[in-house]
């Protein structure tokens, strides 16, 4: 299980990379992609949309099921990774490279774990 030390994690298995004072990238963890299985569809928000802590901003679909993706931050969508719309499998292949959205004007962070805490959390879940 790959859990990079430079990222922060939500208990619903999203990762956050702080890229500036009020900006961050958000994606799905290795644990999440492994649990979800082969992803075949991603539904992303649009640039300019608001996201809020604890609210769903996207969903991903495997052949078996659809799953909501929750926001670890409150802010505004600055960019989406549109490549994923045609290649959702990138999330399975490279979960920390295949970011979903970039958020700007962040006003709030949810309860985030560091890599050590998230590792322990995943082991508990297994």
């Amino acid at each position: 299980m790959n859990i990079p030390e430079n990222l922060l994690y939500l208990d619903s298995h999203e990762w956050v990379e702080k890229t500036g004072e009020k900006t961050a990238r958000i994606g799905l963890t290795d644990f999440a992609q492994d649990q979800l299985g082969d992803l075949v569809f991603v539904n992303l928000p649009e640039e300019g949309d608001s996201v809020a802590v604890g609210e769903s901003f996207a969903d991903v679909e495997s052949v078996k099921a659809v799953s909501d993706i929750y926001s670890p931050v409150t802010g505004t969508v600055a960019a989406i990774n549109a490549d994923l719309l045609d290649a959702p499998e990138a999330i399975n292949q490279d979960p920390y490279g295949a970011w979903l959205i970039e958020v700007t004007d962040i006003t709030e962070y949810g309860e985030l774990m560091d890599a050590v805490a998230y590792q322990a959390f995943c082991e508990e879940q297994n």
């Binding site: 299985g37 082969d38 075949v40 539904n43 052949v63 078996k64 659809v66």
Partner: protein, 357 residues
């Protein structure tokens, strides 16, 4: 408490994600993942543990007569070594189960039932048997392995001479030795692909599994089994079929012989007349995936409900099966499906979605 099939240890060793299904612990997928497993069946060969399926033997001088009275298909004159798909209907013309009947002898038939329906089916059959015929539930004494895919024949002929294999689709051969295990082998399957299903005593299942695995057959879980059957537009009980749905609406009229003197459900089917809603195939025309139990619209009018749907890996698009009002059921009809508050555009397309070349 769920039962373990005789191949449970294999599933765990192979990294299978084991879940409870129809009273058994079975893998949804192995490490390979649903898509790779699905593609292995379409392009090479996949190996499935389907030991959860129910099996029963009907025996006696009146066995054939009983099948003709209880089931929708016609079994008169069916040759020994032949297999036939049939519905078992209730008095309302709804479906108790869909099953395959194998003729092993003049007075001996082997029935393969859906796992979740086995107990119901056995009770139903026993409750309707007349004359000299007995039904024995042998599910616990029967393991089943499916080998499906274009390479299936090349793999199995490493163990069985080609002339000993069943040749025609829906035929079978008893007492064939595979890796030293006495098997019944049929040319049947639930994937839309060329392949075989092998029945054996549970004690021999691991040896057969290991032999075919070593030949390169890719272990496949329930996930791929479902995407494969959906891509081939094969009905699944509890989705396309249930106690209320009749087989004519389901497009299974080929397995219903209304010209037979009588069988359970016949008069109800005749009384129902032409179906109001029929089973159709839907293809997502742009992006998105349609799932089961979604409402289908033509404009703002509700015209039906989906019964199964997913992304079909080989065809590379979202497909679903649905029951639609006849007026909206013609191939080419444009519809919309409401999925989690969004409308997904879809088109009625011919069934099956996938047919092997």
């Amino acid at each position: 408490m769920e039962k373990r099939t005789p191949l449970y240890e294999r599933h765990v060793e192979l990294g299978g994600r084991v879940v409870p299904f129809a009273g058994f612990l079975l893998p949804v997928q192995y490490k390979t993942g649903v898509i790779a497993e699905h593609m292995a069946v379409r392009e090479h060969a996949g190996l499935f543990d389907v030991s959860h399926m129910g099996e029963a033997v009907l025996e006696g001088p009146d066995a054939e007569k009983n099948l003709n009275a209880i089931l929708s298909n016609d079994f008169s004159g069916m040759p020994i070594g032949g297999a036939r798909y049939t519905l078992m209907l209730n008095e309302r013309g709804g479906v108790v189960d869909d099953l395959i009947v194998y003729r092993c002898g003049e007075e001996r038939f082997f029935l393969v039932l859906n796992a979740s329906n086995t107990e119901k089916d056995v009770n139903w059959l026993r409750g309707h048997l007349r004359g000299e015929a007995t039904l024995e539930d042998i599910s616990d004494r029967t393991a089943q392995i499916a080998l499906q895919g274009p390479d299936a024949k090349a793999m199995i002929t490493k163990f069985v001479p080609e002339e000993a294999l069943p040749k025609k689709y829906y035929s079978f051969v008893e007492h064939v030795s595979v890796a030293g295990v006495d098997c019944m082998i049929s040319r049947t399957g639930y994937t839309g692909e060329f392949g075989y299903e092998l029945y054996m005593d549970p004690s021999g299942a691991a040896a057969v599994w290991d032999a075919l695995y070593r030949e390169g057959a890719v272990p496949c879980g329930l996930g791929a089994r479902d995407t494969l059957r959906l891509e081939a537009a094969m009905p699944l009980y509890g989705h396309e079929l249930d106690d209320e749905t009749d087989p004519i609406s389901a497009g299974l009229g080929f397995a219903v012989k209304l010209e037979k003197p009588n069988f359970i459900g016949k008069s109800a089917l005749i009384a129902r007349g032409e179906p109001v809603r029929v089973r159709v195939g839907l293809k997502v025309t742009r992006r998105g995936i349609i799932r089961e139990h979604e409402t289908v619209y033509a404009g703002e009018t509700e015209v039906g409900k989906t019964t199964s749907g997913t992304h079909c890996p080989y065809l590379g698009a979202g497909y679903a099966m649905a029951y639609l009002d006849k007026a909206s059921a013609a191939v080419g009809t444009q519809v919309e499906v409401s999925v989690r508050g969004r409308r997904i555009a879809a088109e009625v397309v011919p069934l099956p979605f996938y047919k092997r070349a």
